[in-house]
Amino acid sequence: MSLSEEPVKLTRKQVELLNWFRSEAPSLADAYEGAVRLVADDKLPGRIHFVAHVVRDISDRLVDILNSQVSGARVQYSNELNLIAKEWPKIEKIGEPDEGSLSPATISIDYGLAARIDSLVSAHRNRPTRQERNHSLFRCLMRSHPTQGDVNRRIIDEFAKTRNWFSDRAHLRNRITLSLDEHELPARFAKFEGILHSFVGDFFTGTEEIDAILHQANK
């Protein structure tokens, strides 16, 4: 099986979202567009894993991309560890065993190396929680809004739930019932898109849909 040859027609909201990704987070734009196409192609086996990967990555990385436009962002564990690894000696070279014991109670390392490790541990300890990162994400999404309001915690929780649903499906696990998820996928993905679009899409595109709901509700 291969991806459908049929071109997928993006909705107006999706076009606006895609344009926004291209402008504000270009590295995520293709992934998003690919996910849109996968969601639309219900014949592609295992598509849920691919879409789930994309949603999880967008959810996790978007805040860093948006934040990096403002300042440096998350702790770069790999880079820091590479630097430490260059200087880190084998442990047996650090200290000799005390008499009568198999391993030393203390060892000594260079101050510079210790400082680097301390810095890495501090950064790790101070890293934001997922909820803080999500809050930060929505603050970034509202940066260009004229109103100075804060985002409601309900939205942050809802976004986290959506992200977790996809994260759970990013890798194959026995307990997940894929056939049921396949049906749920478009709705979950629409929710993910809906939350993002409400913040970064055209305001009046959103109100058109809301007007339709209000029309029905107020009937």
């Binding site: 109103t147 804060d150 959103g206 109100t207 709901i213």
Partner: protein
Amino acid sequence: MQSFTKPTNKELNAALPLLSSPEHEAYFFSRLKNPLWITPLNECDIFKYPPTAEPVKGGGIRYPSWPPTKYLARMAGLAPCEVASILSGIETDNASIVGDLLDAAMAMPEDVAASLVPMVSNAANEGTLYIHFKDASDLCVRLAEGGQADSALQLACTLFSPTFDEGKKELHGRDLYWYKDGLARVVSVLATRKSNEFLKQLCDWLRTIVEAKNSVGRETSFDLSYIWRPAIEEHEQNHDHDLAGVMVGYVRQGFELAIHGGQINFEHAKSILDAYPYLVFKRIRLHLINEFAEQVPALAREHMLDRRLFDNDEYKHEYAMLVGKRLSMLEAEQREVWYGWVDTGPDMTNYDDMIRRNYDREATDSEREGRKNRWKYEKLHCVRSHLDGDRLKFYQQMLADHGEPELADLNVYCGSIRRGNESPIEVKTLAAMTFEQAVARVTSWQPDESQPIGPDIEGLASTFGQYIATNPILYSKSARALIEKPAIYIRHFVRQMAVSAKVGGAIDLSSVFALCQWVLTRPLNERTTPEQKHEGLVDKDWQWTRDEVSTFVESICKAKQDDKPYYPLEGVRVPLWGLVEQLCRDRSRSNIVRDLSKEDPRVLDYLDLAINSPRGKALEAGLEYARWVANHIKQVDQASHEIVPNGFDAMPEVREMLEWQIAVGNRSFEAMAIIGSRIWLLNWIDQAWLHKNSEFLFRLHGIEKDPQEVHGWAAWNAFLVWVSPHIEFYRIFRSQFAYACEQAGKTTPGRDSDRQPMNRLGEHLMILYGRGQLSLDDDNGLIRRFINTANSSVRRHTIGFVGQSIKGDDKVPEEVTERFQDLWELYWNGPGKEDLQEKPGAWLYGTWFSSGKFPDQWALDKLYDYVEVTPTPEPDHSIAERLAEIGHVDILKAIKIVDRMIRSDSEGWRIHGWNDHARLLLGQAMDAGGEARSIAKALINYLGRYGYHEFGRLLKANH
């Protein structure tokens, strides 16, 4: 009622993601009318996280409004139980949410609203109710009226229990106005619906407030209430600024309502009041005995015949009210007992001691008798409607002799008093006399003694002036009758002569001149009325009268008929100048006290000081005299110009006076400022003289050598501020203009105004430049140098002045606008951007642009550059209006300008003033397509998020 349907899960799931941003949430909830959405939305935690109060930078707290609770408030009438259930579970420190809660409670049936009382009480205790105190009071009243008295009482206790911060007399956490307003309404309903509990509560609150007063003795129950609440009933002598006094009114009202309504009887009321020790509660009880005497006649009689109450001034008012209204309830013999107390008279034991102590002398029999009669009179005044026979005669006689006794039933009395300007003689009395008699009557009057109130000389002099004004022409003939009379009366007389002269009244000038001449012969410091402690504005010497003579001279010279001088030269000129000559060397120091030693003379306009100084007034008179003479002798030359033949040779007396004033040693700020402000006149009379004396008159350089040498600046600044710009002046004062321009960069004007001399310097230059009389390069680029080096505040004023002037001009020739375009380029490419950054709200280019006098594309280009520096150009409304008119010339640029203006509006209210113009421009940009359309579309969406939803129509119209 409308029939709604509950949302399906599908509808709900579709809706919720759309409401994620606060703006969409607000859009949805402000329009949702279906109460059946409440529960499903609640199950989705929509109402779970209301926004909290936010501290604001620089102090203060912001209470964000929240559309979901506003929706609940709107739905409260349709689904009260659901709404109450949700709201009662919300914990918030946000006053806006509390306001929604109160709105909801007011829309619910009372029994449901009662369930919200704990939350309102909690908000009150947390201090978040402050701005909704009135709404909470309304709810309290509504609950009480709606059969929820227990809840109402619970709420009332939270709202109205008075608390005070340590050492403070003001209520803690409550606005006094709304506290009093709310309690007044609550008392009127709760007193009859929960009488016993509420009245006890009211008494508790009164006790708390009384005990917060410093003057209260807790052991003695002494509270001075007869001072802070003179009468228990409503009375003009009660003051509403004293909270305890106000609370007494509520307590009284509460008891009266409850007893009248039959909820409690008098005995019950008495038992409540008796539990409180302070005097004020006893006074309230006495008041109620009077009010309900028919219910407790024995008690009323007992109190009337209580000699301790009769003698005790602490109960003076309530006792007086009781006997005044209820004396007839006493048996005849009981009344005689009471009258017997009055007839016996007061206790005089300490009277003689008191006189000795206070006046250091023995009391006389007459004083003792007077004291007794006064005391009796006050006692009888209380029962005046019951009097007959001799007591009535005695009372009526005392009333006729002394008027109503203000302290018969009060210990203190506050009333207004008249201060000053009271005349012992009326105008009509004087008018019935001959002038000489009137003068004699007025000038012979002396106040009995020095008093702060009552008739005084100032008041009498004012009345004398009014009398003169009734027929100034007639009285002018008798002016000599005032010779040798006090200055204050002559001053008022001369003032009326000046008023009459100014309108061409045929006053007898020779008589008035004679009086004025006599005035000028008097020693300046001569005192003409006896000195008194409280004498008000009475002349201490002759200066004010001399000033009035100056005004009189000026009035004569200004009087005109058919645009010609009213008074002839012949017979008037000589005596008139005779007066001026003697006045022009009067004191130069102004009556306005101002320390000039620390002010920069280069940026001061001295004219206000000058016109308030004796010499300044005299000089004004002298120069008006010069104009008057010139108007008499002027001729029209071949070029149709009016000229004054022979200039100052035709009035050498004026020249001599001017040269004396500007001579070193005689100079004063005041005189120089008057002369500077009349340069136009001097130039007209004798330009050669002005040429010759200009360097000396406007000696500006002197300040560098001697900081005290600044008189030239007084003249120069008055010239700049008060004389219209003209190239002729520029030519005469070329070197002064150059020097002043140089100084414009070395000074800091104190305040920005049209009367700031350096600002006016810029205006002079701009007008000459605009007229083409002075180019950018003339005189070594004087204007260029001014633009580049003047103080930034002066520059901004100058540039702003051009825009405003052009805007106000109907037709501006093309060559003028071209000149100003060059000037703008010079300014903008020079210091303009920095000037603007320094004060982004300045009206600089905004007025140029909105004038509509410049080529459209040029104007747009410059505005585009301008908003790059400040995105908030002023005046924004005029700019937007003009943009809408010419935006089509370059719609992309225009929409970019608007985009910047709107996005920089952090408050979101500026566009309110010009959203019609913005809509027009956005529509044009949408029609234009391309980049302009993209920008417009994004901006429309941005405005939508701001709450300007009406702009969304532009998108629909342009699909």
